[in-house]
Subunit: 265 residues, 2 copies
């Protein structure tokens, strides 16, 4: 059996994986894992190996991107291989070339899905999923760009919310914070004066979604800069037009200012 199964680890720690994913791991001939494409803040490889009853080979960015996962492909050519990845596989665009290469070599590929930070942040916020426009990532300062600001502006023009992922390099322990993301957008505002993100703009910050103590706070951007979200990973949402129930959710669940009710359309 030539088989490669991509299994999502879900969120936060070793218990984020689905029961099915754990079963697939237990039954695999070889088990690989990468932990650099996202951060599972309370994950322990030792506890995972105990839970699965399997030894896991941890792969680096170099193993998967420069060597294009050759070790994984070799294992899959000789049995059932599992590659465990944070969140839900392929949502972050990585590893798709590995999947295509496996199929070209006659290896059957499958996916066992996991919880994704993208749907989890939206669900936690209480905002309606179908009112989100394009998602964008705010990059580290050395790659700074006006694109995220412009995406927020374009979504807002259509009344849509924007989910902003914050850049991270988990293998270098570098994580952009809500504070840095806001600063980056406000600096574009100072240059362009388009008014899409000012210190009076409503924003929602989230941190450690999927853990036992996630942070969620909605406030005007200038106020949100002062809020302590704690450790990574963090993300940001810029709401567009608010439905009555969305405003209630932000007030009740995210501590938003009560005069938000006046913004309901």
């Amino acid at each position: 059996m030539k088989e490669l199964t991509f299994v999502g680890l879900g969120l936060n720690d070793e218990e984020g994986i689905s029961f099915r994913g754990l079963e697939e791991t237990r039954n695999a001939d070889s088990v690989f894992m990468e932990l650099y494409t996202s951060l599972l803040p309370e994950f322990s490889l030792k506890r995972f190996e105990d839970l699965a009853g399997k030894k896991v080979t941890l792969l680096s960015r170099r193993d998967l991107e420069e060597a294009n996962g050759e070790a994984v492909l070799k294992a899959a050519e000789n049995g059932c291989a599992v590659l465990l990845v944070p969140g839900d596989p392929f949502v972050a665009t990585t590893h798709i070339s590995l999947r295509i290469e496996a199929e070209k070599r006659g290896i059957k590929t499958r996916i066992v899905h996991g919880a994704s930070a993208i749907s989890a942040v939206i669900g936690l916020s209480g905002l309606h999923n179908y009112k989100f426009g394009k998602t964008v990532t705010i990059p580290f300062p050395e790659n700074s760009s006006e694109t995220p600001y412009n995406v927020i502006a374009q979504n807002k023009a259509r009344g849509l919310h924007t989910l902003c992922l914050l850049d991270l390099k988990a293998d270098e322990q570098r994580f952009l914070s809500v504070n840095e993301g806001l600063q980056s957008l406000l600096s574009v505002e100072r240059k362009t004066r388009k008014g899409a993100v000012t210190s009076e703009t409503l924003a929602v910050g989230a941190a450690r979604v999927g853990s036992a103590n996630p942070a969620l706070k909605a406030d005007w951007a200038g106020e949100l800069l002062k809020y302590d979200f704690g450790g990574p990973p963090q993300s940001l949402i810029f709401p567009g037009e608010l439905h009555f129930m969305e405003a209630e959710a932000l007030i009740r669940l995210a501590g938003a200012p009560k005069n938000l009710r006046g913004m309901v359309k």
Copy 2:
């Protein structure tokens, strides 16, 4: 302890839940479940109860929407209650009023996330998540509307992909199919002649994502009408501009026509 934990069941069957969600269920004082907001095609309540070692109270749409989950709130006022829902909680906008009501009554609420059909379909398709615009639901014929067609047109104008969810009433065993969704959009095209969805438009259909035998097929809409996707649940994607790797993924993983390579931007 007054506590209400919303736990995602993830996809397809009783093994879609996260290990953490299963632990929460095992430790709860009372366990409720709804299965009407989405379809888990191979789910067995009996097998779930065996896995969790708990009796589960199944709730209807009436219990949760007309009675606003009073039974759940009562249980949470007297201990730790768990409400199990398909997919990832709150992604489908339902139950948020129950969460707000619980918080108003001094009940602590938490979420244990699960895999969502939304990120799973995107991941399975091989298309890049950050290139999707607004998501839309194609309604049943009796509620037909030009909105889905217009959302696809607006996303395309910005080069963005559109995920179309297909309406379902799981409690009535009614599920819109890829074929019916396409027919609905093509009938808007015949009326408006705007050219956003014609029989020559590229579309991607998916079915039973998260199961052991998901269907995925990319083709021109006129051809896709002839494809047999099997049982529900199903969904549709209309790609915008394609990146080189996205075209390769559609050709290799979704059997798309090879001349798609000429559409890469």
